[in-house]
Subunit: 322 residues, 2 copies
Amino acid sequence: MRYVLGIDIGGTNLVVGAVSEDGRRILGLESEPTGAPQGADHVIERIVAMAARTIAAARAAEVDVEILGVGIGSPGPLNTKSGVVLLTPNLGWVDMPVRDRIATRLDLPAALDNDANCAMAGEWWVGAAQGARHAVTFTLGTGIGGGIVVDGKLLHGASDVAAEIGHITIETNGRRCGCGNDGCLEAYASGPAIARRAVEAIEAGADSSLQGIAAGDLTRITAQTVYQAAAAGDPLALEVVQDTAKYLGVGVANLINILNPEVVVICGGVTQAGDRLFTPLRREVTRRAFRPAVQACRIVPGALPGTAGVVGAAKVFLDAHR
Amino acid sequence: MRYVLGIDIGGTNLVVGAVSEDGRRILGLESEPTGAPQGADHVIERIVAMAARTIAAARAAEVDVEILGVGIGSPGPLNTKSGVVLLTPNLGWVDMPVRDRIATRLDLPAALDNDANCAMAGEWWVGAAQGARHAVTFTLGTGIGGGIVVDGKLLHGASDVAAEIGHITIETNGRRCGCGNDGCLEAYASGPAIARRAVEAIEAGADSSLQGIAAGDLTRITAQTVYQAAAAGDPLALEVVQDTAKYLGVGVANLINILNPEVVVICGGVTQAGDRLFTPLRREVTRRAFRPAVQACRIVPGALPGTAGVVGAAKVFLDAHR
């Protein structure tokens, strides 16, 4: 059977897998810390070693495995045509020809796209947005990434920086964002922003089981601990999740009013909160977006947690090479 | 030569013209008050009478005029496939089959689209967005309409309500908008919102030449009087224009971060303010949007003031009928 290597380069982890040509099967899936501080050469070598093991695992699992090429998802901004990552603060890369370096080392053709675009491509190909003509993905993590499908095609825009939906302003004079702007969605609903809002509430005197978890060191509070405390019924954590749903709802409503998609997919750890997130999120969207646009649109969690980026990177390769 | 009738149905005025097949020439342009309170039948009859005069004027101006059909722009929401306007509060229409009624009365094939989409189509065809693969139009008037071109095609979305960019939230807990949402761009930067901000400042004690113009009746202050006072150097009016640029800049930056277009076109009376609007607008966008997206994008006034809707309606017909 024919496979494509999917490589998802994250600031924290590298994920590699061999994705079948129909997107339904993944062989030899591997995840490792990125180790960005060791430098770009180390990261490339780690990717090449993981890819070799993935190919070996795929060949061990199945006879007649043919590897067509490599799809690579990376934080951006990047140039999809030249295959060069222009700048990634998390990885410390500047003008890094990551596509050609990996292609040369593996002796396989390769394609490069933004990591959040890859997640959208994966969800659209075989996940929660399958069959949609117009779709949007919000990927919530350290930042908030986005992917947009218009008329069945990933939207790249004039210079490969479309779908930066974490950086739409939802409060004109709001919280300062890491990008330098004030009031970005990311400054309210990313993982660190969720933790920060919980910490601020505790510092302002709120009572919460999070204080016990933090054991005197509030920097130990992460988005993950907030979700866990919310699942256990902690009132402050529930309020933080509710507020997250509200802010995210503003962002989702904006995208629905602009693009009128059939589906909005929410990806990332925050979806663990389940209905505690999605019920107030849908309520906020219904309140804010145009009724015929809301009625046309499902808001759903991603169907490929942990693998959307790898699967979508493979899809990006297939689209670029046929 | 071959022409298409363009009909721009507004809440205030009807505009009709015969647009040449290449979009470069308009014959028999007419404008009349819509007279919506007299009812839908009267409006349709007025459109038909205007169209007949326009056709006669075109035939008087040129030999061998062939009218291919009719393009109609109307406030929405509407269904481009069925040609039915679902609801227009300004006109009082509900489920109005405007395309087929006009087509029958004129005995010509017709096509229908949203008025703001038509403005985008006109600017994209022969105006300020000509040649762009990705473009956005903001049309500022009583409301704020929008049009989006992606990959050289008007974006309609899943249910013909894409590009409602007047109703993106820019202040999560901001001013109440006519649509029921809080903090919409339209609640800050539409004509009535511009007038309202000036009136509020005067009521709060600000000194302005607008008080003389209003002669004791602040309801006489309109966006138009604010632009005029700003052009004459009135400090309060200048501040209102500056704030308008800032709010509009938030909206434009959001669209640039989402769509990464080559051009954003600003249409409507507000563009009379010229550099007093565009200089702070561009500054705000540069501050807020991603640098590679800002660098790829021109922000310009519309090139077809008063006729973008008619020209674009003709283009919508041509696209639907070949």
